[in-house]
């Protein structure tokens, strides 16, 4: 690709939101990332809007969608793979029609957010890790599976400001989960089922206490002791984990233990935690919900005021229990189809989405960063990245459609 014509473009297909890809006359240079390559090659399987399976105009589809929401006693807005503009518009719509709004599978993110709400956080952005971290601990599952350029973007910075060479990287977790392509200084082999106990032991060792080895004879105490020493001796340590890859049901406890470790280390030196969890603009959507309503997820407007409950307003639970009577599913950043539901479903889906059953209303919306410009937030929560339109599909954005539906509801009220 000619450097003269190529310009940098940001990639919306994982929470790293790398913005060093190049777009030019011959296409997009994805810097070896298969996920980005697949994302930018998303096919257009459908671009027509439908009502009851029949092709119709956008205008009519919006009318029918508004009618469904107007008639519903408790609508659910979910999916929420949208850019910031989409999230802002969908929150306005949910507020107006008294809906529950919950990002699909927000439970993983909620584990982390609940620890923050209860105890706090000690964290940093990618740029701090890339420029300062001399010791990096990767906890649990291999982050490169969901974040392919993790190593390149956070660890392999050859021109780091404040470290001399590459960081010493240690992995704690199953050997089979060692981060792919990341040179390790040490490995602390621990089965997933024992991860929480290993973190407890690590915390004790960092504090100079003895790990409770008697009750955990299978824990690799010597490597854990070595790791504790590395973190204590680091000038600027970083502990990184993929929130989705903790042992099932233990995400909350593991996160709490890591926060304890971080607090302990910062009494004498510096160490920060960098949770990776926020693809499909999960962080951006949570932030919009926070600033507009005061809660990051699982929110109900049914009582005309924002109400948050992590159990009651879980989208999957509400659908399974039959507690909602209409579903507005919005997935613009990924081709995820709506869950099959017996209630009337309005599906705002990408042109790449394959729908096996026809929802009541099907509206094809553009993918941010592919079909239209937009803004999404990186997994490190601070940096919002501008996305460009990489192709001309002419599809409306989710924000435009949601605002049009809201307009119909307000015109009728």
């Amino acid at each position: 690709m000619s450097a003269a014509t190529a310009r940098p473009i940001a990639c919306p297909f994982c929470g790293l939101v790398c913005d060093d890809l190049l777009i030019g006359a011959s296409g997009i240079e994805t810097r070896g990332c298969a996920k980005a390559a697949a994302g930018f090659a998303a096919p257009v399987v459908a671009r027509q809007h439908r009502v009851g399976g029949e092709v119709t105009t956008l205008d009519h589809a919006v009318d029918v969608a508004a009618g469904i929401l107007r008639g519903a006693r408790l609508p659910l807005v979910s999916g929420l793979g949208v850019d910031l503009a989409g999230a802002r518009s969908l929150m306005a719509l949910a507020d107006r029609c008294g809906a529950v709004i919950d990002r699909w599978q927000s439970g993983v993110q909620l584990d982390l957010l609940r620890v923050v709400q209860r105890a706090g956080a000690l964290t940093a952005t990618f740029g701090e890790v890339a420029n300062r971290a001399d010791v990096v601990l990767i906890v649990g599952g291999d982050p490169t599976r969901a974040y392919p350029r993790f190593g390149a973007r956070l660890l392999a910075n050859e021109t780091a400001l404040y470290r001399d060479g590459p960081p010493s990287v240690v992995h704690i977790g199953p050997l089979s989960d060692a981060p792919a392509g990341v040179p390790l200084a040490a490995q602390v082999p621990v089965d997933t089922a024992r991860l929480l106990d290993a973190l407890r032991a690590l915390g004790a060792l960092i504090d100079g206490r003895r790990a409770a080895g008697g009750t955990a004879p299978d824990l690799p105490l010597a490597p854990l002791g070595d790791l504790a020493g590395r973190l204590n001796d680091a000038r600027y340590g970083a502990i990184i984990w993929d929130t989705a890859m903790f042992p099932p049901g233990e995400g909350d406890l593991c996160t709490t233990m890591l926060l304890r470790i971080l607090r302990s280390l910062n009494r004498k030196t510096r160490c920060v935690g960098v949770p990776l969890g926020g693809s499909d603009n999960g962080q951006g959507v949570a932030q919009v919900m926070l600033w507009q309503a005061g809660w990051p997820s699982r929110l109900s407007f049914a009582q005309e005021v924002p109400d948050h409950d992590p159990w009651r307003f879980d989208a999957a639970r509400l659908l399974a229990a039959g507690e909602v009577d209409a579903l507005l599913w919005v997935s613009a950043l990924s081709p995820a189809p709506p869950p099959v539901a017996i209630i009337p479903t309005i599906a705002l889906v990408s042109p790449a989405t394959i729908l096996r059953t026809a929802p009541a209303v099907e509206i094809r919306v553009g993918m941010p960063g592919l079909d239209h410009s937009g803004t999404i937030v990186r997994s490190d929560t601070v940096i919002a990245v501008p996305l460009a339109a990489a192709r001309a599909s002419g599809l409306p954005s989710a924000a435009v459609v949601a605002t049009a539906i809201l307009g119909r509801l307000e015109a009728a009220s």
Partner: protein, 554 residues
């Protein structure tokens, strides 16, 4: 359409009106000259009412990542205080950290027509603007935080020229859509990343060897020379530390005569005298301010109750974590650029330190003579939520109320303060200066904060009430750009406000070194970092650009 506000007592200090009874005419969002014969399409009978320009809050943490993290932390705040949606309004929650729509409605309901976010992290600018777009009705703007950004510290460490600092500051302000520049614990946030735990004005920082004095010198001068109206907005080193008055006075000296604004000065006016080694140094600061005309300040008054401190000052927030109530806190290092720290606080009148903090703030208000150089703030939410302003106004205007409040405090604090002996009571004219005319002037907003012909018709109408707290809590009418937007606290229209920015000029040669810094070190590219004016406009609402007048080298 011409609207006439008839017969009110007008307090318009910028134009010399001190309660003069006169009519105000509005046309197309502006104050206009009286039409021939006083004809108007609609009029409001404002006899016995008090008319002022809309108030401006010069320092209030209303948007950005730090504010959002504070919301996340303050779960009880969002459970306990909720606001229902209305026909025109969105729902929301929170008192100390209100959600965005509620923030706009509450400000407007109190007669405030603008609030300025004082601590925008440069790398968080895009999110901050997106969030500000959801602050309804009021005008807004943000000060970008510099002085802990590694580019600047490296430039200073290498002995960089002032011209380069100026060009960089101007570039940053444009890139982030800023109205002003703030420095927070200059050099200290960066120092904390190198494990520095304290930093004094003349201490070389742990890595760069740059002193805070050098940062203050370079930035206060840069802001002045590129012609930004608002002086360097300065959060001094050593916030909250007993004895920090010396740091604060040294900070004034470091500006070397260039204009400088000290923010939340209450937190920086502490002595270390007495049995408890904590005392008021308000008189010392007031004396310095009274004789140093290049200095302005806002107070950052504390009021008793639950709140959360939200600050870019990670070094001091880490230190203050031991006071967290409830016991939880967040600390974040941000992108070789800044940081943020959130620590919930409960200020108690029976706590000696908190009680003395309350008296120190009031002493500053009452001992600083020139109302054009002191601004009413609680550093929302750090000292108290902005909804405490009406009570604060009453404390300033009503000595009996103030002294009665003083009697409720921790007895040792009552003994330690001279507050009870201060007779001064603010006048309505002084309140109008401090909350309208002066903040608009210090921010360079020529058409705000006054009611002269051509001014934006941001107007607040109060019923005269001896209980000044009640009076200032719920004005009878509030107009925004000529539209009636609130009536007795209820929102009646929801136009979108403006985002105020300045866009100083710079020598584009600086872009080469900024670009190479981004290419080598940053995780967001040089092309993607700047926020375009189109992006700000796409969020909704208009952008108002104010002129910069570049000043020659002093």
């Amino acid at each position: 359409m011409i609207t006439r506000l008839t017969g009110g007592r007008v307090f318009d200090p910028a134009n010399g009106a001190r309660g003069d009874v006169r009519d105000v005419y509005i046309d197309d969002g502006r104050v206009v000259v009286a039409p021939a014969g006083g004809r108007a399409d609609q009029s409001y009978d404002l006899r016995n009412r008090i008319v002022m320009a809309g108030a401006l809050d010069i320092h209030s943490h209303v948007a950005g990542g730090k504010v959002n993290l504070a919301r996340l932390l303050m779960t009880d705040d969002h459970r306990d205080t909720v606001a229902a949606r209305g026909a025109l309004t969105r729902s929301g929650s929170g008192l100390a950290t209100p959600s965005s729509f509620v923030t706009g409605y509450r400000y407007i309901g109190m007669g405030y027509t603008a609030a300025f976010e004082p601590a925008m992290v440069a790398s968080n600018a895009r999110s901050t603007h997106a969030e500000m777009a959801d602050l309804p009705i009021i005008d807004k703007g943000a000060y970008v935080m510099l002085g802990n950004d590694e580019f600047l510290l490296r430039l200073l460490a290498a002995g960089g020229e002032q011209e380069h600092v100026n060009d960089y500051v101007a570039w940053m302000m444009r890139a982030t859509g800023a109205l002003g520049v703030k420095t927070v614990n200059p050099g200290g946030i960066s120092a904390f990343k190198f494990n520095g735990r304290t930093l004094d004005v003349d201490t070389p920082g742990p890595h760069h060897g740059v002193t805070p004095r050098r940062v203050i010198q370079a930035l206060s001068r840069a802001v002045h020379e590129v012609g930004v109206p608002h002086p360097l907005h300065t959060h001094c080193n050593n916030l909250g530390v007993p004895g920090n008055i010396d740091t604060t006075l040294a900070t004034i000296a470091a500006a070397e005569g260039f204009p400088i604004h000290l923010t939340h000065a209450q937190f920086h006016s502490y002595g270390d005298e007495g049995d408890r080694h904590f005392s008021s140094a308000a008189a010392r600061l007031a004396e310095a301010i009274n004789r140093t005309p290049n200095v302005t300040l806002d107070v950052g008054q504390i009021m008793f109750g639950q709140t959360v401190t939200a600050s870019g000052d990670t070094m001091m927030q880490y230190r203050n974590r031991v006071f967290a109530s409830p016991d939880k806190w967040i600390l974040m290092d941000i992108e070789c650029d800044g940081g943020c720290g959130l620590v919930p606080f409960r200020y108690r009148d029976k706590n000696f330190v908190n009680a003395l903090q309350w008296t120190i703030g009031l002493e500053l208000f009452l001992l600083i003579e020139d109302p054009w150089r002191i601004f009413l703030t609680t550093d929302h939410p750090n000292g108290a939520p902005f909804t405490a302003y009406p009570t604060l106004v009453r404390l300033l205007m009503d000595r009996d109320f103030r002294n009665a409040s003083l009697k409720e405090l921790h007895p040792a604090a009552q003994k330690a303060t001279t507050l009870g002996s201060i007779a001064r009571e603010y006048t309505l004219d002084e309140i109008a200066i401090m909350t309208r005319a002066a903040p608009a002037r210090i921010l360079g907003l020529a058409d705000r904060g006054h009611l002269g012909v051509g001014a934006a018709a941001d107007i607040t109408v109060y019923e005269d009430d001896a209980d000044r707290a009640r009076m200032f809590a719920t004005p009878e009418y509030v107009f925004k750009d000529g539209t009636e937007v609130a009536h007795r606290g209820s929102v009646v229209a929801v136009p979108q406000g403006r985002t105020h920015v300045v866009r100083p000029d710079y020598d584009r040669a600086i872009e080469r070194s900024i670009k190479s810094f981004f290419d080598d070190h940053m995780t967001l590219g040089f092309d993607h970092f700047p926020i375009s004016t189109q992006e700000i406009a796409d969020g909704g609402g208009a952008m108002a650009e104010h002129p910069c007048r570049a000043r020659g080298r002093a």
